[in-house]
Symmetry: C2
DNA sequence: CACATACGAGACGAAGTCGTTTCGTATTTC
DNA sequence: GAAATACGAAACGACTTCGTCTCGTATGTG
């Protein structure tokens, strides 16, 4: 994967050092533009430079092209996965569900839908996506496995599919406008409770 | 919504009539390009004309611009929702799930992910999306309600959320590469059975 | 201080796209 | 046969973006 040459790098060479301020301004401008609706394909270096208040050369000095810059910017967007409090499985799942498709950064919710076409354009990018989202799935997996041990969940639960059952509707809600009138907290509760109860008669 | 002026229109005026062959070639070329990964924003009239073997003027004679053409092309892509056979709720749900994100046209599965950013760019487009997908959700809703009557499903089932539980994982699978190693038929069975059984202990 | 490098700004030619218009030709009605 | 309209092809001027390069200036190391 392409890596930028940051202000932090460089073996203390002579001359003026790279501006950390420019580093951040470029990445921020990139994320802003994407989150405002500019598709990655239509994203231009000119626009990024203009938004960042930076010369184009300053960008090309750091990244070989648009794609490498975008990948670096998206890496910056991700935060650590949320840590559930561990009280009950139901409460932990609720905590995780309301953050599906979110990160600490408010722009993430708007950026994510824009990435789906990119993901589907190459197996390589889909792999990158899997790596980024894996830690979050792992957290949910551990909560479910804990529930199977404590008896809060059935012992023969299909854990992987259950992750999909919980996550899928939340993603649909956020990315496809499913059930737009229902608040996220309410939807999360209904999803968890319906998954727990099952559709078959008691 | 903008409408094209088709070969079928025109009150039998004199002069050479519009070529139906060109109509179809333009729409087909548009769908081909989108399904091959060209984002809608990056889609060019030039490329469509070239692919269709048609002059640009022939396109501008029918549609006012790119957006109107794309909307018309997507309309052509949709087919009627599948009709479940009505044997058992479980079998009907399986039938519906394997067609989630599909239509009779093979390209639909590749086109759909490309539309998500467009949907999220305006409330108007999200509404159009809802209208297109509503009939399919309605079919699943009826299957679930039938199951509540026959006793195959619990009487107090949250129908809307259950639709999301069933559909969401299949969409994740298709659009985000979730569980890429699992076959669709197998995944559909596991999803249905896990939803039916529920996660809580028996 | 001398030197090296980065900075923002912008000029550069090449390429692509836009929507319109003009070709010469083809097809249909009256 | 005359008139009307559509056809594919291509040229038009205006615009945007590309990646490179050159300005004059700023900020570091030695």
């Amino acid at each position: 994967m392409d890596r930028m040459i940051t202000a932090a790098d460089a073996p203390r060479s002579p001359g003026r050092p790279r501006s950390v301020r420019a580093d951040e301004a470029i990445v921020e401008a990139t994320l802003d533009l994407i989150s405002e609706g500019t598709s990655i394909e239509a994203l231009s270096i000119e626009a990024i430079a203009g938004r960042a208040g930076v010369g184009k050369a300053t960008i090309y000095r750091r990244w070989p092209g648009k794609d490498a810059l975008v990948i670096d910017a998206l890496r910056k967007l991700k935060g650590p996965p949320p840590v559930p409090r561990g009280e009950s499985v139901r409460a932990d799942l609720l905590t995780l569900l309301v953050t599906v498709g979110r990160t600490p950064d408010e722009r993430a919710a708007r950026v994510m839908p824009c990435l789906i076409p990119e993901i589907n354009r190459s197996a390589d990018r889909m792999r990158i996506w899997q790596e980024i989202t894996a830690p979050r799935r792992q957290v949910m997996r551990e909560v479910l496995q804990r529930g199977m041990v404590t008896g809060e969940l059935r012992a023969d639960l299909d854990v992987e599919v259950t992750i999909g059952l919980l996550t899928g509707p939340m993603l649909m809600h956020r990315m496809l406008g499913w059930e737009p009138e229902v608040a996220e907290q309410t939807l999360a509760e209904r999803v968890v409770d319906t998954v727990l109860a099952g559709a078959a008669p008691a």
